[in-house]
């Protein structure tokens, strides 16, 4: 796997959306039994799991050249 900065960008974006910093503290929308901010956090986590699995299964590691060798 080569250095692919887009992967880091996607993770930063997922963290940015998944952490509920942008909600007012008194928000209390309930969707599917969860507060909306929790539901979004869970969906982001599911997205992060699929994205990580995609990166792991899509890119082989042995194309790397080791900088220390």
């Amino acid at each position: 796997m080569k250095k692919q900065y887009w992967i880091i960008t996607v993770y930063v974006l997922l963290i940015f959306i998944g952490i509920p910093w942008y909600w007012p503290e008194d928000t209390n929308y309930i969707v599917m039994g969860f507060p909306l901010w929790v539901l979004i956090s869970i969906f982001v986590s599911i997205g992060a799991s699929f994205f990580t699995a995609f990166i792991l299964l899509r890119y082989a590691w042995d194309n790397d050249t080791d900088v220390n060798e």
Partner: protein, 493 residues
């Protein structure tokens, strides 16, 4: 685990059979060995296939503490502990930073312990010693916590005096663990992990359905909380909690990948493809483990209100006992889950034990005391170290049983572990990284982290600096020292 309806004889026989199976697996592991070498004992020769590597990763990562601690934490702070699903997912993402290159080098140069990489990369004894000391300290502490949890779990099984039940539990379960671990080495540990991991996954998923059946939907639980004085536990977290959230993602995400047993799991995969698939499985594990623990905590807020302090760590037990008393299926589910909880503790503890013994025999004895020791001698010594270590830790687990606050004081494992980031993650990507600044960086990073954690500063609250773990602040200084020092040395050359 008090408050349980005592298990009947059939249930106790079931638990007994489960525990005996672990020793039998130890014998199988012993007979499956191909040669009397460190590589065979600690890495299973050519390594493991997909099912074993996935479940051994899983069983090692998720301990009994995950189930009790995460449901208890949710009970105390509410939905905000959903952050645990994020930081457990972050662990797998952090593996991507160094596992690819480390795996390749491990196969090429036959690494066995984490510091084998450092020896090969830097060739510095002082760096190796400091890293080994940090890893052994952290792991011993981690192992001790698991042994104490085993004792507490056993209290629930026995009608005897709680103190005696605790002591018997620690001694019996640890004895079983050390027998199968020293007989079959990593094979026994990983094969038992397969059983333990499977029981844990199935048990938790069935528990989720039993929760819905017993208490109703999650909507009902959330609506119930809204009507109580705990209504703030469904609110959006405040700014300090948000900073804590970011801090947890960083410190647990990076720190967990640097556990020695986690690094040795990277070495132990049979092929790169199997390792990638195993890690892909782990990317989903938080959804069927940490998330379920959070949901248990939410149901407990709604239906078992009023627990304070250490009692709040027993919410899982309370929920289980309610399910246990309401149906035969519930009763047997609890028996299986009980085995799963024991499994989660033992599978985490056995990996830690084996990892410490490998470091003591290879990184300390072989490197500094007797360089000419044969592989067979080192393997035997590793087993002896396991027994000695376990005897000391069992004594400590019994001695510290009523001194929980003292244990909490020792528990800064992630603050210490992440100080190893420059040594492992930076050095594997940056050729210019040098041993001396890496060594100094670790020492300064550890010093700053511990000073901030224990120094009674007025800007430190609950062991955190404005919500951030002290280890992260130590790490920033640590990385600066490593990078600036290495650039300086490289220029002088």
């Amino acid at each position: 685990m008090n408050n349980f309806q005592a298990f009947d004889q059939t249930a106790l026989i079931f638990i007994g059979i489960y525990l005996s199976t672990l020793i039998i697996i130890g014998f199988f592991g012993y007979h499956a060995r191909q040669e009397n070498t460190l590589k065979d004992f600690y890495l299973a020769g050519n390594g493991f296939g997909l099912v074993v590597i996935s479940l051994t990763f899983y069983a090692t990562q998720y301990s009994g503490n995950t189930l009790f601690g995460y449901s208890g934490m949710t009970y105390r702070i509410g939905y905000a502990w959903i952050m645990c699903v994020h930081f457990m997912t972050a662990i797998v993402a952090c593996y991507l930073i160094f596992a690819p290159k480390l795996y390749k080098r491990a196969r090429q140069y036959n690494y066995i312990t984490p510091t084998d990489y450092l020896q090969h990369r830097f060739g510095s004894n002082s760096l190796n010693i400091v890293v080994t000391v940090i890893m052994v300290f952290v792991l011993s502490n981690y192992l001790l916590a698991q042994l104490m949890a085993m004792g507490r779990a056993m209290q629930g099984l026995s009608s005897a005096d709680p103190n005696i039940a605790y002591q018997q539990g620690v001694i019996l379960l640890t004895l079983i663990m050390v027998i199968y671990g020293t007989l079959g080495g990593i094979r026994a540990v990983a094969w038992t992990d397969v059983i333990q991991g499977s029981i844990l996954i199935v048990g938790l998923i069935v528990l989720l359905f039993m929760l819905f059946k017993q208490f109703g939907s999650i909507s009902l639980a959330t609506a119930t909380i809204q009507q109580t004085q705990d209504f703030s536990k469904i609110n959006v977290p405040d700014a300090n909690r948000i900073r804590e959230w970011i801090s947890y993602i960083l410190i647990v995400g990076f720190g967990s990948t640097l556990y020695p047993q986690a690094i040795q799991r990277i070495y132990a995969a049979r092929s790169e493809k199997i390792l990638r698939q195993g890690l892909a499985f782990m990317a989903f594990a938080p959804l069927f483990t940490a998330l379920i623990a959070v949901i248990i905590g939410i149901y407990a807020i709604a239906y078992v209100p009023g627990l304070e302090g250490t009692a709040s760590d027993q919410v899982l037990t309370r929920i289980l006992s309610i399910i246990q008393q309401n149906s035969i299926l519930g009763y047997w589910l609890i028996v299986i889950l009980y085995a799963a909880v024991l499994a989660a503790m033992m599978s985490t503890a056995d990996s830690a034990m084996l990892s410490i013994s490998s470091m003591l025999s290879k990184d300390i004895y072989s490197r500094f005391i007797n360089e000419n020791a044969s592989e067979a001698t080192l393997t035997l010594l590793g087993k002896l170290f396991s027994w000695c270590l376990i005897i000391i830790l069992v004594w400590l687990a019994i001695y510290l049983s009523d001194k929980a606050s003292l244990l909490k004081l020792l528990d800064r494992k992630f603050d210490l572990l992440i100080q190893l980031i420059p040594a492992f993650m930076l050095s594997i990507h940056w050729r210019g990284s040098q041993a001396l600044p890496t060594f100094i960086g670790i020492i300064v990073g550890v010093f700053i982290s511990l000073c901030l954690a224990y120094g009674s500063f007025n800007f430190v609250h609950e062991g955190k600096v404005y919500g951030f773990h002290p280890g992260l602040i130590g790490l920033v200084i640590n990385i600066l020292i490593t990078v600036i020092g290495s650039i300086f040395i490289n220029r002088r050359k």
